[in-house]
């Protein structure tokens, strides 16, 4: 598994079933760049438990607006289409893993 980059047309379908982790980011945000490899590694570690996606807020302002995202990186966990938790800012992998696991 790895982190799949998606845009708003694919969004609803991507999060519709199971546990999905969506990383909202932008190309010019330093903390987002640092979080990307952490998510990539976590997606391998948690393969089969959760699906990982990445969305650029610059390309998808509608989704960013919908979730009232005010700071990035913003990582949201969705369960069968419903947002159940969020995490704002960079976090090291062990903490990020704990965050996803408590929402499984």
């Amino acid at each position: 598994m790895s982190v799949k980059k998606i845009d708003s047309p694919e969004f609803q379908d991507a999060i519709k079933s199971g546990v999905s982790v969506v990383d909202f980011n932008a190309t010019w945000c330093g903390p987002c760049k640092m979080l990307a490899p952490v998510l990539e590694s976590l997606s391998e570690e948690m393969a089969g438990k959760a699906a990982f996606y990445a969305m650029d807020v610059d390309d998808n302002p509608d989704i960013a607006q919908q979730f009232g995202i005010a700071s990035i990186p913003y990582v949201a966990v969705f369960k069968d289409g419903q947002k159940v938790d969020e995490q704002v800012g960079f976090v090291p992998q062990p903490q990020l893993k704990a965050f996803v696991e408590r929402n499984l």
Binding site: A26, C29, G30, P31, K33, M34, I69, S71, V88
Partner: protein, 296 residues
């Protein structure tokens, strides 16, 4: 700055200087970040009576001894502020403005000069309060933002944000010596920036808007940016475990993040030069063991 350092030491007070000396003696590559004039807490002390071997030494002279010692050991000071430290797993990435530097170990020796957060700041961080204008500017397209800037260099971020935001209210809260550099018309080319000379007091979320209380009345906007000179350790290092306002360490000066050590005032009272220098020494030796264990 492409290579990965063995250890990055942040802070050039007695803790950081001592750590840099010991890590260098142990043949590790060191990146020492801080101030070219060492630390105000050293250079501005009138007379120091309890530094072993140097009785009744003015702070200015102790600072000079520190600089001479670093020079003799060929350890340069990189006079830059670290804005974020990311624990990447088996290494750390340090953000210095828009640049990134890598190190296998980090010693945090930043002292305790950061101020208290505003009431309402911590609760709304990431939910309307941000410390990074260049990170979050895209989210303010067509919206209103308030920026509180603690140094003239933040004016560049205000310009950047004003390209996206519909309106930016800029509140410069500079030190006295910097205030002179502040032109009355800071942004002649940015008509959507309004400069207000007020003192921020607190932050509140009301009806989905962020409200900044000041001594000149309330200012409401979609978001508030606080661009400070120094940030508290928990915000500098995401994921770092604290003990009140200090960094939680064990006797090896290890924090909860493997490979990250802390020393000096930042680990707690007593606030003393020799205690700081001693902890810097311990932190450096612990970092050396950590680096050696990585190479096995």
């Amino acid at each position: 700055m492409g290579k990965r350092y063995d250890v990055a030491i942040i802070g050039t007070g007695p803790a950081g200087v001592s750590a840099a000396i010991t890590a260098t003696v142990r043949n590790k590559s060191v990146l020492l970040l801080g101030s070219a004039s060492v630390s105000d807490k050293v250079s501005k002390a009138h007379m120091i009576q309890n530094y072993p071997g140097l009785p009744d030494i003015p702070g200015q002279e102790l600072a000079q001894h520190f600089l001479d010692h670093l020079k003799k050991m060929e350890i340069p000071i990189t006079d830059r502020k670290v804005t974020m430290i990311y624990a990447m797993g088996d290494y750390f990435s340090l953000q210095i403005d828009q640049e990134f530097v890598e190190a296998s170990a980090v010693i945090l020796a930043i002292g305790v000069s950061f101020g208290k957060p505003f009431p309402g700041e911590d609760e709304n961080l990431g939910r309307g309060v941000s410390y990074c204008a260049t990170c979050d500017a895209a989210l303010y397209r067509g919206k209103e933002a308030v920026v509180v800037g603690y140094a003239p260099k933040e004016e560049a971020d205000v310009r950047f944000l004003a390209e996206m935001a519909q309106k930016v209210t800029y509140i410069p809260v500079y030190k006295k010596e910097d205030a002179a550099a502040m032109a009355p018309e800071l942004f002649p080319d940015r008509p959507n920036v309004e400069v207000k000379q007020v003192k921020p007091l607190g932050i509140e979320k009301r009806d989905g808007r962020m409200v900044l209380a000041t001594d000149g009345g309330e200012i409401s906007a979609d978001g508030i940016f606080l661009l400070r000179e120094s940030v508290s350790p928990g915000k500098l290092v995401p994921g770092l475990e604290l003990d009140g306002n200090h960094v939680k360490v064990d006797r090896k000066m290890a924090t909860n993040l493997p490979g990250l050590f802390a020393a000096g005032d930042i680990t707690g009272t007593p606030y003393q030069y020799v205690k700081s220098a001693g902890e810097g020494n311990v932190a450096a030796l612990s970092a050396v063991s950590w680096i050696d264990s990585l190479k096995k």
